[in-house]
């Protein structure tokens, strides 16, 4: 084989490798599209029977009654309540901890604390749910003398703990990415460390901190097993935090096993998943945008 042929052979080889790798890389996109297609193909038949506004704003979820009532407003509100409740715990704890880790923590302590946070992220959601069921809910039941310990409040506490790791690591990343020169400039005009954090570092990392909070919210809305086990499961419009609620995720998980394949109930669970997917999808894109913003600024 002469050298020209050899060069062509190598070139062809190189290109085929690239093409194969590209096709494999497309798989993620393919799966995402697959998810969207499955959800819509299985979910859209719901709207032959109920209108979109009846579905989204209907106040009753009785999928097995005759005729079925398929209003998911209580489920949307259930998800919203536990998410807001969890964020009330998780935002201050997460952001404050991130500030501590990024600004105040000695290096040695950091080496210990970061794995601890990662461990918190590693605990499976079903274990959190189990813990909430057997330890936390009896505790809260006695503490507030409630009829049941399985409430939106209980779920919020556990979900808050679960959201903390992603909030902390994203927020810490954002704070650490603020250039040192910003801090030095602030110190040099006589600001204290706290003034520097409050007036320079935090404003400079707003977009990253926003991304952290939204990421946490996305985690909580999509969380299934924990809320299934400890939020109580009542599909009613919540009026208090100390009341059982039922989220969109828990409804899908609890009822899919019983819904006959192809029935209206079955399709309506996929329709709930469409709503859920769209919410998390939008949150993700928002996180992406915010993260890009602070990454480009650093450069």
């Amino acid at each position: 084989m002469n050298s020209v042929q050899e060069v062509f052979r190598i070139k062809a080889h190189r290109e085929s490798a690239e093409i194969i790798l590209f096709l494999v890389a497309l798989s993620s996109l393919l799966f995402l599209i697959g998810i969207i297609v499955v959800l819509f193909v299985e979910g859209l038949p719901t709207f032959r029977e109920v209108s979109l506004s009846q579905f989204l704003f209907g106040r009753r979820w009785y999928p097995t009654s005759e005729p079925p009532r398929l209003g998911i407003l209580p489920l949307i509100l259930g998800s919203l309540w536990v998410t807001i409740g969890a964020l009330i715990f998780a935002i201050p704890l997460g952001l404050f901890s991130a500030i501590f880790l990024a600004e105040l923590c000695p290096k040695k302590l950091r080496e210990i604390l970061k794995p601890v946070i990662e461990m918190l992220a590693g605990i499976p959601s079903v274990v959190y749910g189990f813990f909430g069921m057997v330890i936390l809910s009896p505790l809260l039941k006695d503490l507030f003398s409630l009829p049941t310990g399985l409430t939106a409040f209980t779920a919020s506490i556990i979900l808050g703990i679960m959201a903390i790791p992603s909030i902390v690591s994203t927020a810490e990343d954002a704070i650490s990415s603020v250039p040192k020169s910003y801090r030095e400039a602030s110190f040099s005009i006589g600001a204290t460390h706290w003034e520097t954090i409050r007036k320079v570092v935090i404003p400079a990392s707003y977009s990253g901190l926003g991304a952290a909070v939204i990421l946490g919210a996305g985690r909580i809305i999509g969380e299934t097993m924990t809320v299934l086990m400890i939020a109580g499961g009542a599909a009613i419009i919540p009026t208090s935090f100390f009341q059982p609620v039922r989220t969109m995720t828990a409804t899908i998980a609890a009822e899919m096993g019983e819904a006959p394949v192809g029935s209206l109930h079955y399709h309506s669970l996929f329709a709930i998943a469409i709503v859920l997917f769209l919410i998390t999808f939008l949150l993700n894109i928002l996180v992406d945008r915010l993260a890009q913003k602070y990454h480009t600024r650093v450069r």
Partner: protein
Amino acid sequence: MDIRLKTKYLSQKIWFFIFFLSIATICFALGFIIYFLVVRGYKVINWEFLTALPSRGMTEGGILPAIVGTLYLIIGSIVVSLPLGVFSAVYLEEYAKPSPTVTLLRLAIHCLAGVPSVVFGLFGLGIFVKLFGFGVSLLSGSLTLGIMALPIVITSVEEALKTVPLSFREASLALGATKWVTIRRVVLPAALPGILTGLILSVGRVAGETAPILFTAAAFYARGLPRSIFDRVLALPYHIYGLMTEGTRPEKQVPIAYGTALVLLIMVLLVNFLAIYLRRRSRSARKW
């Protein structure tokens, strides 16, 4: 010191203390959870608990099928996510030039990572269980979990590839190796610790997931170990859920659930520790 300066420093002290308290609270919460699970769970765990089949409608006996089922699901998901993840990451890091397609790909990976686990379950149900006709089985569950783990694998392999210095690639190319040979013989071996870390992280995630296998693989009652990839399997996380919500003898099932939760927790935390350790070691050992 004048009074304004004093209040300034006082408020700094108070705020810094609040920051410290926050992270202390988080550590306390973690300690609290682990403490309770260990204290109530360790009594249940013994050799028989780990190696026996459940008996009397899940109120006695061990959890062997759940352990085995979880291991099978882990292996199955790795078979799916490792090749797809490594090749995708190699393409994105080594070949891809900035283009709209690549931007779209990265966005897709990012979005896939944020899809709620229960939605993955529905996807698995729609595609693998129904459309492909695999039924509720180990195969369907592994495919679903593998796809769920894919973004984790891709992201960590990309990180690993980024740490391999450009000079390695240049040296290999200068010797006349093609790009693909360079990747296979030089870049991937150098990135191996990072790839392993990503793989282990995904194992930790897969082992604990329940929602994706609810409708694709999991069973609560089973006679024995799964015999083929088309069998339903028990899995540790689903077993905990089943023990707490099904059956009629909670006084006997809750202790088993404690034991199962502790086994799962130990497994997942060990896996996570291994990942952290490997990452740290590969960082400190890297002298290039």
